[in-house]
Symmetry: C2
Subunit: 235 residues, 2 copies
């Protein structure tokens, strides 16, 4: 069970291995929103990387979530605020979703055998699943427009720390070592640690402090979304 961490979707082809499990991570907020959606009874989600595809689905009558730069794209039903999915309207629905970074990361990982959606909200069930599967693992951080970001890395560090400390998983990957080290510094107060981070500040300007605090609170949604063909379903 080797653990590697890829900081951007652009880098994924360098990490790709047959048989590895890819955990896609976009803490603020796509993978937190997707986890919340399935926990609240969404049946299926269709991640699409671009707005053109999202528009086609919208025209066919689908419920469509579209976010760019932190805001709901005009004319769409939802963005990527997790609170948008805590609603009886989403129950048993199929929802199409496109976001600035998260759905790009899912797109990059599509060639992998198993892709699962990770966030602090489903941290413990993800850790147990990875332990049980006992395969090589790639944490794929969505980042911000193919640049490194802190919050995704901290979650990779949280998972890696559990796997290395609790289960004796081995790693020689420098990015995973860095993620563990950063998580050690941050874990006593993730929100405060992220105080100077670019994305927390970007969202704070959009008055999304409530989203940020929710997305950093572990284990509120013990469910694992996974990719089957081009759909996300509950594992």
């Amino acid at each position: 069970m080797n653990v590697e961490t890829c900081f951007t979707p652009q880098g994924y082809p360098l990490f790709h291995k047959p048989n590895a499990i890819v955990v896609v991570i976009d803490i603020l907020r796509a993978t937190s929103a997707i986890t919340t959606a399935f926990y609240n009874g969404v049946a299926k989600m269709i991640p699409v990387a671009n707005l053109d595809d999202a528009k086609k689905y919208k025209e066919q009558g689908f419920m469509v979530a579209a976010e760019r730069n932190g805001e709901i794209v005009e004319g769409y039903d939802l963005g990527n605020s997790p609170f948008g999915y805590m609603n009886s309207k989403v129950k048993n629905q199929t929802i199409v979703i496109t976001t600035t970074n998260g759905t790009q990361a899912i797109e990059a990982a599509k060639i992998a055998d198993q892709v699962i959606i990770g966030s602090f909200l489903n941290m413990d069930v993800i850790t147990k699943h990875l332990k049980n599967e006992n395969k090589d693992i790639i944490f794929l951080c969505a980042g911000w427009k193919n640049k490194f970001n802190l919050e995704d890395t901290l979650f990779a560090g949280a998972l890696a720390e559990s796997l290395v400390l609790k289960y004796g998983s081995d790693t020689v990957c420098d990015s995973t070592l860095a993620a563990i080290e950063l998580y050690k510094n941050a874990k006593h107060n993730l929100y405060e640690f992220l105080g100077r981070s670019s994305h927390r500040n970007r969202l704070a300007k959009l008055d999304l402090e409530r989203d940020i605090k929710y997305c950093l609170t572990p284990n509120q949604c013990p469910v694992i979304p996974t990719l089957k063909e081009n759909f996300l379903i509950k594992l």
Copy 2:
């Protein structure tokens, strides 16, 4: 004076800005070797990204340094051990150099206005230079085959910490924040901190512990190599 850190040559185009100074960082060992070379009187270095180009120079009678995967490529004069450049034979010479990662990073940065070569060996003169120039700064880590590595990131963190703490430079770049945080954890014993890192272990297998310790010792070579057209010269 905005500071950004790019973890791989592949990522550089996303960070490129006109007028920014790029500090190329390949601690183990290309930029440490280049810094050492100029400190020991080398007149000029010609960085080339591939072995084909290196071979052409060799055939023209140039002194050529060629390293791949930590070892001197057969048939060449030097590798990227800094100790190879502490030699009167290199004085006033022009040396062609190609390495696994460092020269790829120089190649990526060539489009920048000013490119300088950074390592722990010339840390303080680099910091002073950046402060005096008062321009935007991009730390370009060479990494390992376009993956993140720890030692380059630690040096970016060391420079960034100085610029932010001593000189009040502002940064909102997450990768720079991460580099500073990692350097804080590492600075009391860089060698020990890198104990589990992939590259230290790679070089240790090649019996290069002496190189590693040298490359992590600050301010032994107060000289700044810089790129002018396609050549490196002393600033």
